[in-house]
Every structure is written in C-alpha cells, then in structure tokens.
Symmetry: C2
Subunit: 251 residues, 2 copies
Amino acid sequence: MANPTACILIIGNEVLSGRTQDVNVKFLATRLGELGIPVREVRIIPDVAETIIGTVNEVRARFDHVFTTGGIGPTHDDITSECVAAAFGVPWEPHPEAWARMDRHYAPGEFNAARQRMATMPRGASLIENAISIAPGFTIGNVHVMAGVPRIMQAMFDSLAPTLAGGAPVLSRAVHTARVPEGRIAEGLAAIQARHPDLDLGSYPYYRKDASGVAIVAKGTDAAAAEAAIAEVTALMRALGGDPVAGEPPV
Amino acid sequence: MANPTACILIIGNEVLSGRTQDVNVKFLATRLGELGIPVREVRIIPDVAETIIGTVNEVRARFDHVFTTGGIGPTHDDITSECVAAAFGVPWEPHPEAWARMDRHYAPGEFNAARQRMATMPRGASLIENAISIAPGFTIGNVHVMAGVPRIMQAMFDSLAPTLAGGAPVLSRAVHTARVPEGRIAEGLAAIQARHPDLDLGSYPYYRKDASGVAIVAKGTDAAAAEAAIAEVTALMRALGGDPVAGEPPV
C-alpha cells in the first residue's frame, strides 16, 4: 500500500524575510518519515489571508496530511486560525475546551481579547495539546495547525503523532567516501538506481578541510533493498579508488 | 513603484526528507530583501520531473523572479536543468561557453558524460559564474538556476546580484523587552500597525533561561516610518512595565 503523504506549510513573514532560520521543516520531515508519512512538498508563505486560504485549500486536496506552523499567537499578524476556518468554510468561534483551559491558566483579567483569539478556532476543530504554553493547536479535516516556535511546535507534534495513521517507515542507509568526486561515481550510481527503482538514491557531495567526498543515501521502506543498494555503491566506490565508510559523514 | 517580487524553489529530496537542514532560504531572503526584491513564497519540492516543470511554470508566471537551488550536479537525481528547459519549451543542449570552460578545467578523459550534463542547458540560457567549482548556473527568462550546496550557491548569487534590477531596499527596525508577554502587548500593537499600514509589524516571542520576552520588528522601505513605529512600540512597552532595548534580542 502506498504511504500517506504530507505537505508542510510554514506561515510567517519572519521566515520569508530572512529574519528567522526555519528549523521546523527538518524536525517535521524527519519525524513524519519515521511515521511513514513522507513530506512531498513544503511551502513558506506570508501572513496574508488570501494566500493562506488559497494555499490551504490547494494542498489539503493534494496531500493526505497538511501540517502548518506559525501564526496562531495573540497578535495582529497571527491569522492562521481564522484563515483555516475560511478555507474550510466554517465559522471561527470560541472552542469551549480551549477557552476553559486558558481561562483557568491566566490570572483574573489577564485572559484578554488578544489571548481569547488563541481559544477561537474553526468549528469542528479537535485540540492538539500544548505542554509548554497552554494555548492549543488544532486539527480540522486533514489539516494540523501548530505553533511556529520550535519548542512549542515539537511538543504539539509529540502529542499529535500517536493519532496519525502512518505507513511503512521510510528508512535510510548511507555510505560515504573521500577522494571520489560525484562526477566520477555518477554513471555507476545511475545504473544502481535503475536496478532499484523502489528506492530513492541520493548523492550529496561534502566539503571538509581535510577530505571532501560524496555521501550516497538510499531511502525507501524496504531495509533489505536499501542495504543491497548501499552494498553495490560501496563496491563501486572501492572500484573507483575510494575508501568507503558506512553511514553519513560526520557533521 | 511597487518592489519586484521573488519566489525561491528549493529542489531536492534531501531537504524534504529531513536529511539536510536548508540554509539557502535565509541567505537568499536576506540578500534579496536588501536588493528590494522581497521573497513572497518559498517552495521545497522533490527531484520529480513533473513537479519541477509544473512548479517552475506556475511560479515564473506569478513572481518577477524565481531563484532555484539544487539539482544541477552530475548525478541521476540532478534533473533541474532539463526540467527548466521543458518548462520553457526549449531544447536542452550543450552550452558552448559552459562546455568550453569545463572541458578546459578537467584533465583529459575526465570531462565525462555525467559532467557534460552540467554543461547542458536550456537553449538561450545565460551563465551564472561559479567561482568555487566551475560548473555554472544559468538564467533563462526570469528563472535563475543555482547550485544547492550553500557555499556554491552563495558564490553564484554574488555574481548574479549586480545584474538584478531591484527596488527600494526593505529595511528593518526592532525593539525588544523582557517581562512583557505577547498577549499583553497585542492590542496596543495592533493599533500601531493600523496607523502604519505600509509597514509590516511582526511580533516574535523569545525564550531565554534568564529573561523571556518579545521582539517587535518593523519592516518596510521607509526608514523614517519604521523608526516612528518602533518609537511608538517602545513607549507602549514602557507603559506595560517593560524595559525596552533597541534592536533584536541577542541570539
């Protein structure tokens, strides 16, 4: 059976402007791969209602799961939640459980209008727990709406993950060698890829002061096939004068 | 006059799988903002021909400039160049100048079929210099095709940048304070944003062991307006019991 697919939407001007280095894609892509829900596309979009609504509707039709990060805080530029409601064509209204949790959390008078926006959600949303800062994320349909702050997003994903129906985990096996440039291994590598059409064989040059070289990574859901392909790559590296080492090169 | 817009396409399974932490978006977004060509969207897509061709054609129609990174090496998974040719409906053929440069660079017999692919480009492409590893990128129409390895991409962008017709630089001014949570500054901040519709006022909470707080960043092409808005934010922070400090919080 084919694996379910995922799309990640990073919502926020701060990533598009270069202010903020995104780290959510790597975290989510890694975890979703382990769950057998490989990420097939990522979009980074601004805090613009029309763009968010249009993009959510486009990608929720094309992928099995959509994971959004960003734009669910209390400030004027946090418009993800109301845009997701608009995308689904449902009211954006107080979520009773989220409202109750936040009302309990804040001192009297501190659960103000701005914070109440964080307890306002598309009708029919189910909550994603936030163990760090209370205000929950939510799921509606196949769209999972999470915070942008990495620590909070990660806590939300930890709580969401057990509810996701995954597929066969995407495994990876790797080998690397110095002294064999990509341009010399390319031809033999293409032949190995052709013999293993169900695997994704990636070639990644690396540059180090002491020894530059290339890492070859085989990804797929069949561990034996990935190991067989990497064994062939290892033999190829040796034939080309390399000194192959299992795994990825040290960072 | 409105600023020209940019879209970045990160092409590569290695970013989508979580193997590789992308750093090209932050570099390009920062540099393009300084050139007055703000990035309006980023897509990260796999090494799949249909996806690359469709995405290139969609975004080159919607944005003034498209910058791609990744997929122009010598291996079987490097298919960006031929896909861009297909997107433009032009032949993919040896580029005489790129071919001559690479032929000169390699020892006899080493400019093999895999490397010759790196000198094969859409007809009509103009070269983007590669000061690091010879094989050039290229521009066709409003699409700029660059390497994925950050060091090489950055060198290519340095050579490309002077040829780009930019707009007014996007400037940013910031102020931050501990002890004022986002949820308390939100209402006053919305009023300041409403008074400065041509600016983009972003609110970014930060978390430190010693002092968590919030940073407010004003972005726009009018420095005086950005400074005026940040002065209003500074006064608001003080009124809420904060101790505002100019600029972004230290990393």
